[in-house]
Symmetry: C2
DNA sequence: GGAAGATACATCGTCATCGAGGTATTGAAA
DNA sequence: TTTCAATACCTCGATGACGATGTATCTTCC
């Protein structure tokens, strides 16, 4: 997830670590903050893997900056991660939103649509958080108001997303 | 999160690990599967911390079962984790849903309401995923249809949850 | 003059999670 | 009859994330 965000931001323009940190904080920070001690090692990993290159520039204000640029392999890797996300990136909303945030980088609308269809398929599966045997329970069937809340919220999300998915799939050209 | 779910399920009744696994899979598995190699060490951790005790019973079908029971410290710990969740448990929907799933275990409606109010406060903060400087951007201000989607979905979720939160806070007795 | 906060990057130890693999039994399907 | 799926638990190595802490500079405010 973090790695996808790093690659995604760098696809547009080279950035230094600190700026990257601010962008990632803006994107997902209010939900899931990213510690510096997570970001810098992640950058090193990607650099070591040859996905990004580093050049040192004098700092605008303080310490020198390490400006990060995607390599050709980095661009390829980003496109691959966007075109074929792990199932987890499809089902987990946090991860899914990160995929969505950078999906525009995929050059082919058909490839974008394919990713959206995977999410569509996931949302169309009959699934709940609570079951009576194998049967998924609806909010109305629960006593617990908090568990009712979970289902109410999840259903609202699901509806909004299905509407958006279908409209977007349409406009991507069927 | 996983630990909260384990404690939460065991609060109702003693269970063996395999059954626990199935319940956790039902609760959050469609979004975030939990590997066995994560669950069993987590059980051991909690046992080592004195939060749960284990007794061996002959297996109904195959291998012997290790039936897990919450200790008194385990019950106290669960109630503490529910009454005072980390900020992360409030902001991250996955974690928040787990808190909600077991919030009924808190004996005091006022304590339940206090937790809901923390979520309410979080949702009322002006936050987006995308900014123009410091100003949060609305879906309509974005070109990217995928980023529009993120905001559209997040807004629908937020609205549904705010409605539910206010109604539930009311019914918990103001 | 000094403290605080932003800029800018880094390391360290710890811990949670994961995938791969292992052990053993029972019942059903091929 | 062999194989598969389910039951039931476990270990191991790798990795990724985290909090704490450190280093250094510059600006702003008191």
């Amino acid at each position: 997830m973090l790695e996808l965000a790093i690659l995604g931001f760098l696809y547009d323009a080279p950035l230094h670590g600190y700026e990257l940190r601010k962008r990632i904080a803006a994107l997902t920070g209010h939900v899931r903050p990213v510690a510096e001690s997570t970001l810098y090692p992640a950058i090193k990993r990607l650099e070591k893997a040859g996905l990004l290159a580093r050049t040192t520039e004098p700092g605008a204000v303080a310490a020198p900056r390490h400006v990060l640029t995607l390599t050709e392999e980095g661009r390829t890797e980003l496109l691959h991660r966007l075109a074929e996300p792990a199932q987890r990136d499809i089902t987990d909303e946090n991860r899914w939103f990160t995929v969505l945030a950078f999906l525009r980088h995929l050059p082919d609308p058909a490839a974008q649509a394919a990713v959206l269809r995977r999410r569509l398929a996931f949302l169309q599966e009959p699934a709940s958080f609570f079951y009576d045997g194998d049967r998924p329970l609806a909010a109305e069937e629960l006593d617990d108001p908090f568990r009712q809340g979970i289902l109410t919220i999840a259903r609202a999300t699901s509806r909004a997303e299905l509407t958006w998915l279908r409209a977007t799939l349409d406009s991507l050209g069927g």
